[in-house]
Subunit: 245 residues, 2 copies
């Protein structure tokens, strides 16, 4: 049973639909969504059916109130949020977390099999069912407690959201100079690929690491946007302050 | 003819070695290097042979002085630097730039065929020979003028060097919380992969974009390092200030 109709719910639905042993009994969506079959969509909590697991995929702020409105008790209810404790869920149900560590965009398919799923349950006895479910769609299922999950979520902001913003800055600089951004794609991929075999410290290159102050100055002069200049400076300093192993 | 024995020279040598039609006549290296066959290594400019192209792969600051020491005139001499004009090369020779846009680490092989090579020559008539040479090792050969190359180099710092530093920060946060960093690898790869089909603006996700101030505050509280906090804040603000299309 999926509750919510956003990106996470849509991608989970697509993944579970391919598993013969798992049936998505219903999808709760306040307004009708074309991303799910109409015959399993409900928009009223009184219509809710029985299911082994209820996965709440709504924005962090709405998790508590949605869990309060569930018209049953003592069933397994989990949310999918990286930065939220399981205890925001109403205690009338058995509680847990089913956190897929990935970036979901509406129009980009993902291979769920490669996505690490981070699980936590309030009671040890509920872990097994959640693990069994997660393993039907992913080969990377991890027991992660609340504090670790928070750390992962913060890390994910750095290595995904912030990284993507640096891609954005790169593309802006290219645009201003009539360079097609795709020229940078092989470099972007190699940078991501490299840390499979090297640590990020071993993989670091560039003027900041070399303390090549002449190039650094030229780059800061070249940038016209004050925020870009500031980001350039703070990241350069931060690279130079990494303690050598 | 390759002049220099660093990462760029080593990787170029490996790439050219696979091309039957190209012979690396000599490699100039001040000290003996195990990365090149001993029979083609020289360490004295007086020993230099004739070649169609001389590729200077030394640190930016040394390019001018190396080119001054070349004991010949009117041959094609290029450097491989992203942030340096061709006119630092001594004008007694025909000048140009052969800039491979990639991050090179000693112990990480790269597929040169996928690496964009950015070419510039002082005289139009020299372009063809440089292009012919570049095309033997890469399918992406681009005519890029000095200003564009500077822009590309700055962009590359953002999308490669700075991105790798964000990977480093992610790995530090994981380390402090006993989480294996490789859990983040699929997210890192998907983030790099996504912008093949979406623009970075379309691909952006996360609390900054959602203006989810509760999560942003929790994350800043969670971070213990003051530089990490500062980077978190400035990148969050920068994401929120991207003009919507």
């Amino acid at each position: 049973m999926l509750i919510g109709s956003g990106n996470v719910s849509t991608h989970l639905f697509q993944a579970f639909s391919k598993v013969p042993d798992v049936e998505v009994v219903q999808v709760f969506s306040r307004t009708f969504s074309n991303d799910f079959p109409s015959n399993i969509q409900i928009s009223d909590f009184t219509q809710i059916s029985e299911a082994d697991v209820y996965i709440i995929c709504v924005s962090d702020n709405a998790i508590a109130s949605v869990s309060d409105q569930l018209p049953f008790e003592n069933r397994l209810v989990v949310h999918t949020s990286g930065s939220t404790n399981f205890d925001v869920l109403n205690a009338k149900n058995k509680r847990g977390v089913f956190y897929p560590l990935q970036t979901f965009s509406k129009h980009k398919e993902v291979d769920f099999n490669e996505i690490p799923i981070c699980l936590e349950t309030e009671k040890e006895t509920d872990y097994e069912i959640l693990e069994k479910l997660a393993k039907t769609i992913s080969k990377s299922v991890n027991k992660i407690d609340g504090n670790q999950r928070k750390a992962l979520h913060v890390s994910a902001v750095f290595v995904c959201n912030f990284v993507n913003h640096l891609y954005h800055i790169g593309s802006e600089i290219c645009k201003e100079n009539n360079i097609p951004f795709h020229i940078l794609q092989p470099l972007i991929e190699e940078t991501a690929e490299k840390i499979k075999t090297l640590s990020p410290e071993e993989a670091q290159t560039g003027p900041a690491l070399r303390k090549d102050s002449k190039t650094i100055e030229k780059h800061i002069d070249f940038l016209t946007d004050s925020t870009q200049k500031e980001i350039y400076k703070i990241l350069t300093n931060s690279i130079q302050n990494v303690e050598k192993l």
